[in-house]
Amino acid sequence: MKTFTQSVVTAAITLLSCSWAFADQTGHVYGIHDRSSKKIAFTNAVVHVEPGKTINNATLIIENGRISSVERKGSIPKSARVIDLNGHSVYPGFIDPYSHYIFGKSESTFTFGEPPKYEGDRTGGKAWNEAIHAEIDWVNEFSPNKDEALNYINNGFTTVQTAKLDGIFQGQSVTVSLADDSPSQLIYNANSRHFGSFNKGSSKQSYPSSLMGSIALIRQTLSDAKWYKEAKGKTDHLITGQLVEYNAALEELNELSSVGLIFNSEDHLSTLRADKLFKKYDLDITYIADGHEYTRIKDIKSTNSTFIHPADFPAKPNVNSFEDQLDVSLAELRHWERAPSNPAVLAKNKVPFAFTQYGLKDNKEFWKNIRLAVQHGLSEKDALAALTTVPAKLSGIANQSGKLTPGMIADFVITDGNIFADGKIKSVYLQGKEHSITPISVTDFSGTYTLNINSKKLNLELKQDNQKVSGSVKMGDEQSDIKVTYQKDDTLRFTVDLSKFDLNGVYRFSNQFKSNALTGFYLTPESSKISFTSIANNTVTDESKSKDDSANGSEKPEYISQLTTPNRAFGFDRLPKQQDVHFKNATVWTSEKAGILENTDILISNGEIEDIGKNLSTPSGYQVIDATGKHITAGIIDEHSHIAISKGVNEGSDAITSEVNIGDVVNPNDISIYRALAGGTTTAQLLHGSANPIGGQAQVIKLRWGSNAEQMKFKAAPGSIKFALGENVKQSNWGDEFTIRYPQTRMGVETIVRDAFLRAKEYKASWEKYDDLSRSEQRLTAPPRKNYRLEILNQILENKRFVHSHSYVASEILSLMKIAEDFGFRIQTFTHILEGYKVAKEMAEHGATASTFADWWAYKFEVYDAIPGNTCLMMKNGVNVSVNSDSNDLIRRLNTEAAKSINYCNMKPEDAIKMITINPAIQLKVDKYTGSIKADKHADLVLWSGNPLSNYSKVEQTWIDGKKYFDREEDAQVRQSLAKEKNQLIQKILSNGKSSESHKDSNNKDSHSLALTNIYIAKTEPAWHCEDNFDFWAWQSSHNKQHNHQRAGE
């Protein structure tokens, strides 16, 4: 059966290739050779040769599948077939640089609750990680598929760059024609770009399970590729200790620098992350846009990359009722309004981009959306470039495709007008062969004709819309519609009942349109055949064609929505400015020896605290803030936070993951940042979760709301890293499937950490050994492989990076301190440390600091001995103590968390305030810059309505670096304007007709917010916790899978 089908297909292909020009060049020709004329002349066309260059009244000649000439009123070779394109336009065939034509996308088979899979299945030269398959050359898997090709051709595409979209390094794509021929005739570029993403796709291997894990894996893999190139073939393996393995994936990755990479980062923030990652390797990377680029266009522009833009915009949010509106955020409404301007914004900022059909749920939306983009300010020239020259370059075929100049392949699109306005695609030529969508007919029957029947003068009015003729016969007020029975080229046959005009019955007309006249005959009801000719006059203007094409781009769309950074409610429309301020007459909690100073003034200037004292005079130009009755503290610092992190807080797929870095995944769009500012927090250490003994690197940020991820980083803070001990790392509460990873006991935790440090030392020694070799020896010797995981551990050993260890019980605290002492470093901070009070003396001796919860306990066995007096007992023993939030909620009120120690163990208020200011500053090693009110420190300040530790006080203002980031009064005003904006946007949607959701529903289709790709859903990051250990990529694929199911059900 299968064989039969195949042979039928083969037969069909053979048949086609026989009847057309391109026979299999290296194969045999069976039967008679085809030598028919392969020259076609297209005349009277508007030819868009390339973006910005149009020839009117052109003659386009193609020969043997290539363009041989295009000239204004060019002469027509005698041997050519002539096709009159009067009234038509010709565009270069469109190229989709990011498709999965033939190959498809990854289908995950993941289900929740599956046991973890730590090791990959290796065959041949595959990489260790199953998400890396750079060795695949997709060209070898290519064979065309007519039906799938139609998805593209119907929108005017002639060429795609394609690979299977699956995994991190997805292999080398291939650029192919969408024509139907033998594969070898269709391959335009066998060595196209590699494709990649952060998403591990169908890989079932646990690592990586987070975005930062994927970033680390890419970093290590690119470094490995470089190493592989150097090490492979070296004869001496003294240092590596083993032969250099054969690794096809690494070998192939070395061609990235020559062919480039198309990378789907899945969102614009991750594009910036990827850019930072790839910059080091000097690679040519093209990113898939997520449609939000306009919100951070400056950063996007700074990537100097080309983008591939899905022609996909969000549908109208459902705001049909109060109830529906409850699920719709201002951010969604704003994006609905402005998303179609994204391509125009890219163009305006000279960011090159190409369009793709990728991500479109319904390909019929493609042109609707391109036109929408044009209506939102994208010039037709840029739009055309995004469909032709830019993708041609991206696909490595600029020398043969993307333009209609002589020598180029005859891939082009014929439309009946301006395609960016309302021109419809009539025909697509692929390699010189026509794929007809609707017949090209230059016959325009429209007009008014005079009929004289039985000496009655009747008017025949014909209209033509999208080829189809309709019309009626009229006399006076009476009219009778005609019924067209046949229409092809210049032939038109119709019937019409003329009884209304006292003409006793149905007449049948058979006509041809020639020289602006209908010529033919009609049959009377009595079947008499009567000839007639009538010249068209008063040509009825075809409304659809009379539109002013140029009107589209020039009409400026108006937006109601604000554009803020981040572009959501409470984003900033402009960044706060540094101010010189005189705070007058406050109660100042210095967090210094000076303690609490009453009736005190503070001057700030240039982002720093200038002076503190009583009755200071106001320097000129300083703004005065009367703080009488108010209190000022240093900005609150949170040692332990998981806000502002994207796509996974744990890389919990391995016991040691020092190579991952929270700094790679800072999320500046997290609303928790603004909310924390409203609670007086100015600095936070963003920690990796607690799923493994050695987790990832941490990132200290200042809560500079409105800036980008890099600008948020507290640059002066030294590196730090998260360790974890106890129940979480031994997977005690992860379920029965998680019992195989080492360690499962506190004994194992201790030894695996030791083992890691031994490996780090060994690694360092191997480099020293290598560096000591003479140059000639080095030439023969395979160098050690750079290992990011171990390099980070060495930073700890060298006191360049500091450990913050999640810990609860006394035993594990002692063990870790012992390890550190044995390896010659110190644990900087024990975080959570709920049994710190039991070993406070030892901690003080070791030199460790402590950051604890104010009063959490009883949620798991290892916190059953937790007590709220922990802070006091540790402090009494000389340990530096802070309280932390580990929560996007508590970070909003760390002041009352600190106050709990006053309640539960009689801590002095000045010590309590230190627990959230100078003490955590010391723990993060930023106490030189912030954490107390002292001259020359950063002006990170909080103005409180009263005693900052009281339940009854509120933050009035929060300042960072002398810039005001939060003001309660301004916040109240912003709410009003946001509410107004939201209402206006809702009105705009409602007055624009029905919300598309209801429209979709009536078609039994997916709802508005998922109607398109899921990249447009305003997904909010969750409130991450230490213990949120799950596989982000698996989650995402199960999500996508559900979509696919939905789709299949439609």
Binding site: L326, D327, A858, W1035
Partner: protein
């Protein structure tokens, strides 16, 4: 008299020190007082009669015997000089799993949630562990009573009023089966990252869940009718447990936060003629008219709540109690949880900070909850004849800076204010 006071304090201190040496056993429940107790010169936060400054309060036979500016007593009275101190009715923690779960990560210690989505037959007090180490840490902050309530989804089960001092659950039980708990099916579209279903699927599931709940209630309704009119009708323990709900003898505590859930619950109430109390009520501001027009009692549990929608203001949850007060909508305040309900006094302070009057704030954790639980005739305010459930604090109970509970009485019995935390603190202070 002065001497007596000193003695009392000495005794109290001695008791405290004694318990330090006790072998981490649970504390001994309070005993009936030998003599009447008079609390003198205190600021009485009566709830029902405002704040009385420099007043005396007499406890006799476990009840409040008298409140007056000066109470004269015979010599066989224990005197407590509470000059400058504040006296409150014991706080009542609604919708709590205290005593039902010891360590939430340890399965063996979890008794708060029965399997299945329709378990109206289960009763919280049955599993209440009066010896839970958590209880003394909660009551030492001023909470004398809780509504022990099971948790979970669907029709969850019955709650009971417990006092936080007893030898076992029967001893701690004040009133059994005071309400039935139901978690309202979700009505909104979850766009958070965890949600893997499409909006359609969610909408569909929401509809299904509602329909299924509706079917169940119709089924219960016909069962209740059948039981009433047909002696032969076999007993179904699930639906039998729902009879008091359908006969309006006990309220249905509906856990609902979204406006649409609240609206649906009210429609349900009217359709099936139920008494409902809505718990959670995040959208109370949006639904204030609905709540007020329909006279729905509510328990607000989002004192420190995060904005529930991404574009909502930072303090929308904080401001809700004051909004309710300003709109004359009575409410009770709750923290749903176990160990963390010891923060209840500070939740009250937080609502005061965001505009609630001190009187309404106190009422929201005393008399309002007592009303909802049907025990306001015996507790919830300082009134003659009510149970002597009393908390004395050196300063304002609702701010960490001043909160210092010095005495607690439950039904006139003095409560040991020691707890696991204090004991461990003492132990390691001596290291």
């Amino acid at each position: 008299m002065k001497l007596f006071k000193m003695k009392t304090q000495l005794i109290a201190f001695a008791a405290l020190s004694m318990s330090m040496f006790s072998l981490a056993h649970d504390l001994v429940p309070g005993k009936n007082a030998e003599h009447p107790i008079v609390i003198r010169h205190a600021t009485l936060h009566t709830v029902s009669q405002g704040t009385l400054v420099n007043y005396d309060l007499l406890i006799k036979d476990g009840k409040i015997a008298e409140i007056a500016d000066t109470i004269t007593t015979d010599s066989k009275v224990r005197e407590i000089d509470a000059t400058g101190q504040h006296v409150y009715p014991g706080l009542i923690g609604l919708s709590s799993t205290l005593g039902l779960v010891e360590i939430s990560a340890v399965r063996a210690t979890r008794d708060q949630s029965e399997v299945g989505s329709m378990t109206p037959e289960v009763k919280a007090h049955i599993a209440f562990n009066a010896d839970s180490e958590l209880i003394p840490t909660v009551r030492s902050n001023g909470i004398t009573h809780i509504e022990a309530a099971p948790t979970g989804g669907g029709l969850i089960g019955q709650s009971s009023v417990m006092h936080l001092d007893g030898w076992h659950w029967e001893d701690a039980l004040v009133e059994s089966s005071v309400g039935m708990h139901l978690r309202w099916p979700s009505t909104g579209i979850n766009k958070s990252f965890w949600e893997t279903r499409t909006p359609e699927k969610q909408r569909e599931d929401n509809e299904k869940a509602f329909d299924s709940l509706h079917d169940t209630f119709e089924q219960i309704q016909s069962y209740v009718k059948a039981r009433k009119n047909n002696k032969e009708q076999a007993v179904d323990v699930r639906w039998e447990a729902m009879r008091p709900v359908f006969e309006q003898k006990i309220p249905l505590f509906v856990h609902a936060n979204d406006y649409r859930q609240i609206a649906q619950a009210i429609q349900f109430r009217d359709k099936f003629s139920l008494k409902i109390i809505i718990v959670g009520v995040y959208d109370a501001m949006k639904a204030s008219k609905l709540i007020k027009d329909n006279n729905v009692p509510i328990v607000y549990s989002h004192t420190w709540g995060q904005p529930g929608r991404s574009d909502e203001a930072i303090d929308v949850a904080y401001n809700t109690p004051a909004f309710l007060e300003n709109n004359n909508i009575p409410y009770a305040l709750a923290i749903e949880g176990s160990w963390n309900i010891r923060d209840l006094p500070f939740a009250v302070g937080h609502t005061i900070s965001y505009g609630v009057s001190k009187e309404t704030a106190l009422r929201s954790v005393t008399l309002e909850p007592a009303k909802l639980l049907g025990v306001d005739d015996v507790m919830g305010s300082l009134e003659k004849g009510k149970q002597a459930n009393i908390v004395i604090s050196k300063g304002d109970l609702f701010d960490h800076l001043t909160h210092k509970v010095t005495y607690m009485f439950i039904e006139g019995k003095e409560i040991d204010l020691n707890n696991r935390h204090k004991k461990l603190y003492e132990k390691y202070s001596n290291r």
